[in-house]
């Protein structure tokens, strides 16, 4: 299949125009079947520019369905796990389960840069200056995902959380069904927050998390 930017040249033009209007030191590179944005990103706290970082943002092959991914390419951020970088240098901007808040309908590369990318770098600079991530941070790996489901559903037991993820991965969860927490009450009257997750967590994201849960359980069983 032809790349998205060949199928949708107007979308590419509009993305380019929006980035150029907001950032004079960022530019598009379309090569090898991939569209990227590169250059210097001013990091803003309100109207104050507190720093600049060299970045590369790769647009997804199915853009604009999936969100882009960002890397800091100037070598300024040490590859420490506390800096929320994956081993391949990709910045972990947010949990997959929270992507909906940053890449929904109408999202653009510019909104991505102004939103989670800027937020990450502000957070990083704050962390370097004061030792904490100002907007919070998720625990690494599966723990961070499980925290998310606990917070949003109110279900606190590990078994209950995993049962909830299984329901979301199946793509079906109804208010009158027994609550995954094990209470035997209907979900709507026990943990109604679990129902809201239908709107934001896609089946594929829940499946991926469930896969990591099973992998972790398998490893735990092997080590016993």
């Amino acid at each position: 299949m032809r790349p998205w930017f060949e199928r949708r040249p107007l979308l590419l033009a509009s993305e380019k125009e929006a980035v150029a209007a907001g950032y004079s030191t960022l530019y598009f590179v379309v090569a090898d079947g991939v569209a990227r944005v590169r250059g210097g990103l001013p990091i803003r706290v309100g109207s104050t520019v507190v720093d600049h970082f060299q970045i590369e943002v790769r647009l997804a092959d199915d853009h604009p369905t999936s969100h882009p991914v960002a890397r800091e390419v100037g070598g300024r951020i040490a590859p420490l796990s506390e800096h929320h970088l994956n081993d391949d240098g990709q910045i972990c901007l947010f949990l997959p389960e929270e992507a909906y808040a940053h890449w929904g309908a109408g999202a653009t590369v510019r909104s991505f840069l102004e939103g989670p990318v800027n937020s990450y770098f502000v957070g990083y600079l704050h962390y370097r200056a004061f030792g904490i991530w100002p907007f919070g941070e998720r625990r690494h790996g599966l723990d961070g995902s499980l925290d998310f489901y606990q917070e949003r559903s109110g279900i606190t037991t590990p078994d209950g959380v995993v049962s909830l993820i299984e329901l979301l991965a199946r793509g079906r969860i109804k208010g009158h069904w027994p609550c995954p927490c094990g209470s035997n009450l209907p979900i709507r009257s026990c943990h109604p927050g679990a129902l809201n997750l239908r709107e934001t967590v896609s089946t594929s994201i829940a499946e991926a998390t469930l896969g990591r849960v099973r992998e972790a359980l398998r490893k735990a069983a092997d080590s016993v």
């Binding site: 309100g46 989670p116 370097r128």
Partner: protein, 300 residues
């Protein structure tokens, strides 16, 4: 502001790029220098290598946004404890440094990466070499993985050529331009180009100097060339300024000049400047109540 006083604006850009002596960045850089220094002196305890800052720290062209730690480690002409040949010195220095760092062998330098990832934001390059005579500063460097295994150079000549060029502000701005626009011309080559292009324009104001350099990059890129002042005939820099590099420079310069023409200097170096450390800290401290889109980072 920029339309009335572009020079004041550019000087403010440079102030924001200046690292004070007590800044976190320079403190970390000095600490790393001390570590590397100790490692090399312990590793070559039978020798007395001359260890010095090189690069932008020595040449006074450092910019906050992109700086490295460059250290030269030169051994005396008759000092064979570090190695009989230049290649031995290079290899032995790499072995010593590998006790505490991952070492990437670059053509002349050894690039260090911490085995325990550090918070420092800069690269560390160590350049081993051997003095040719005694006191004039000329050294031979080993050239790793290139045809010509030996290169003559002179750190003092490099430093004085750039530090005393009279155009350091323009050099620093062009380094910032190089970084911000991801042009990626080698810093040494860029410095030499700026000095050469401004050789008869040292007394002009900063904005005119930068415009002159950008115009030359745009209009005369094919005729640009540089010579190593420490070894004009012997150190060929042409590969660092090949046709592809020239083309990238020309395109970036054309875009930059068009932006300056249509929107003023702020379109090139940013509408708002990175404030001083105190303002920056205040802005960051208030970030939770100011930044509207807030995300919680994670790691797979």
């Amino acid at each position: 502001m920029t339309e009335q006083d572009p020079n004041a604006y550019l000087e403010a850009v440079l102030r924001a790029q200046t690292l004070t002596d007590d800044s976190d960045e320079l403190t970390a850089l000095r600490a790393r220098r001390t570590e590397v220094d100790r490692l090399l002196r312990d590793g070559f305890s039978d020798s007395t290598p001359t260890l010095r800052y090189a690069g932008s720290k020595a040449k006074c062209t450092m910019i906050r946004e992109s700086f490295d730690l460059d250290i030269t480690c030169y051994f005396g002409r008759d000092d064979t404890a570090a190695g009989e040949t230049l290649k031995d010195i290079y290899t032995n220095a790499a072995d010593v440094l590998e006790r505490e760092y991952f070492v990437e062998r670059k053509p002349s330098a050894l690039r260090l990466r911490s085995k325990t990832p550090s918070r420092d934001d800069f690269h560390v390059d160590v350049v081993p070499g051997r003095f040719i005579d005694g006191d004039d500063g000329d050294v031979f460097l080993y050239r790793h993985s290139v045809d010509k295994e030996r290169q003559k150079t002179n750190l003092d000549v490099h430093i004085s050529h750039i530090r005393d060029s009279g155009v350091r502000p323009a050099i620093r701005l062009m380094k910032l331009w190089n970084v911000r626009n991801a042009v990626n011309v080698k810093t040494f080559v860029l410095e030499l180009l700026v000095i050469d292009l401004l050789s008869k324009k040292r007394d002009e104001n900063l904005s005119d100097q930068v415009l002159h350099v950008l115009t030359a990059f745009r209009d005369d890129s094919s005729s640009l060339c540089v010579q190593d002042p420490a070894n004009p005939g012997g150190n060929d820099l042409s590969d660092a300024l090949n046709d592809t590099v020239k083309l990238i420079m020309a395109v970036a310069a054309r875009n930059s000049l068009a932006r300056i023409e249509s929107g003023g200097w702020e379109t090139l170096f940013g509408a708002a400047l990175v404030p001083n450390d105190e303002e920056r800290c205040n802005a960051l401290r208030n970030a939770p109540s100011i930044v509207t889109v807030q995300s919680k980072p994670w790691r797979l």
